[in-house]
Subunit: 204 residues, 2 copies
C-alpha cells in the first residue's frame, strides 16, 4: 500500500476544498494517507518575514483567489461563504487536531472546522466555535479543549517538522522526498504515491 | 466555437510545459484559443514592488519549483535543462512574438523559444539566440528582428492589457471575465471555455 501525507492549515483557503474531498479521492485511488495539520503562520514569517497571508500582499491576486475558490467550491458542490476575516488564526483548531487525530471521527472534525471557516464564516479561533464543532460530533468539548490546551501539545514539534520537509504553503501532498503543492495537484500526488510504494526514494 | 486566451511569459518556468502542450490539448478539447505573450516583469514591479521573480524571494519555494518543473517535463516528455540564469529577460522574445503572431509558424516560434530557454539553457535575451530560433524556422532573422525592434511594437499596450485583465502570474487562461492561473488549470479552463460559448459573461 502506498503512503502519502496530506499537509493542511485550517486557515488556508485552498486547503478547504482539498480537505473536503481528500478521503474520498484517496480511497478511490487506493492510496492510504495521513492527515497532517500544521501552521503556515510561522513558516510565512520565517520565509517571507510577514505576519499575514501572502494573498494579502497583492490585492490583484487575492481577488482572483476569492473568485477561484468560489468556482472550485461550486464545482465540488461544497458550501462557500467568503470569510469576513482572512486569514483566521488556526492555532486552536490545530491544537485540538493534534490531541484527537487518532480518533475515528477525526476526518469529520477536519471537515467540520473547514466548513465552519469557509462554508459558514464562523470564527474558528473562538473556543465557543470549536466547542460547538466538537459537540456536533458528539464529543465532550470541554474535556477535549482542556487536553488541547494542556502542556505537551505537539504544536511546536509539528511546525518544525513541516519546516524540515520544506513546506512553504498549503495544501501540500508529501510522498517520501516528493512534494506536490496545491489543491489542483491532488490527483498527481495520488498517482505518484500509487506508483512509488511506501513513498521511498525515487530513482532518477 | 468557444474561445480562450492563453497568456504566457517566455521567462516563466511554469508557462513552458503549458505552452508546449497548449495547441494539442486545446485541439483535443475542441476549443479555439489565442496565444497571448506578455511581460510579467512590469506587473511584478507594480503589484509586489520587486524587479525579480517572486520565486527568488523564497529559496524554499524556488527549490520546490525546480524539482516540480523537472517532474512535469518528465511526465510530459519534453526536454528540461535547468536554466543557469532565471528569470531571463523575455522582452526581445515578446517583441518578436508581437510582429509574427499572425504567421502560420507562430506556435512553432513559441515552442522553439521555450525549448531554448528551458530545454537547452540558452540566453533568450540574446539577439543571436532569437536569430537562430528564427532561422531554424526558415525565416529571415535579420528582417524579423528589425521589424520587432522598430518603433510601433505593441509591447507596452499588451502589458497594459494584461494589467487591465487582472493578471498577476503566468500562465493564465482567460475566458471572458474568468481567469484560471497555473499550468495545472489548463484542462479546467478548456472545459470552462467549452461550456461558456464565446467566453461571454457568466451568470451567477
Amino acid at each position: 500500500m502506498a503512503s502519502l501525507d496530506f499537509w493542511f492549515d485550517f486557515a488556508s483557503t485552498y486547503s478547504y476544498p482539498a480537505a473536503m474531498r481528500m478521503e474520498e479521492t484517496a480511497a478511490r485511488a487506493g492510496v492510504k494517507f495521513r492527515w497532517r495539520p500544521f501552521l503556515l503562520g510561522p513558516i510565512f514569517f520565517e520565509q517571507l518575514g510577514i505576519k499575514d497571508s501572502p494573498f494579502n500582499l497583492n490585492p490583484v491576486r487575492r481577488n482572483y483567489m476569492w473568485r477561484d475558490i468560489e468556482r472550485i467550491c461550486a464545482r465540488q458542490r461544497i458550501p462557500w461563504r467568503k470569510p469576513s476575516v482572512a486569514p483566521r488564526s488556526s492555532t486552536l483548531a490545530a491544537k485540538v487536531a493534534y490531541v484527537v487525530e487518532a480518533e475515528p471521527w477525526f476526518p469529520s472534525y477536519v471537515r467540520a472546522v473547514y466548513t465552519a471557516n469557509f462554508g459558514e464564516d464562523r470564527e474558528i479561533s473562538d473556543r465557543a466555535v470549536i466547542a460547538s464543532v466538537l459537540e456536533g460530533l458528539g464529543q465532550d468539548a470541554a474535556a477535549v479543549l482542556a487536553r488541547a490546551e494542556a502542556p505537551g501539545n505537539p504544536l511546536r514539534a509539528r511546525t518544525e517538522e513541516a519546516k524540515a520537509l520544506g513546506l512553504f504553503g498549503a495544501p501540500t501532498f508529501v510522498c517520501g522526498p516528493e512534494l506536490f503543492f496545491g489543491q489542483d495537484r491532488m490527483d498527481e500526488a495520488l498517482e505518484w504515491a500509487a506508483e512509488h510504494q511506501d513513498g521511498g526514494p525515487v530513482p532518477g
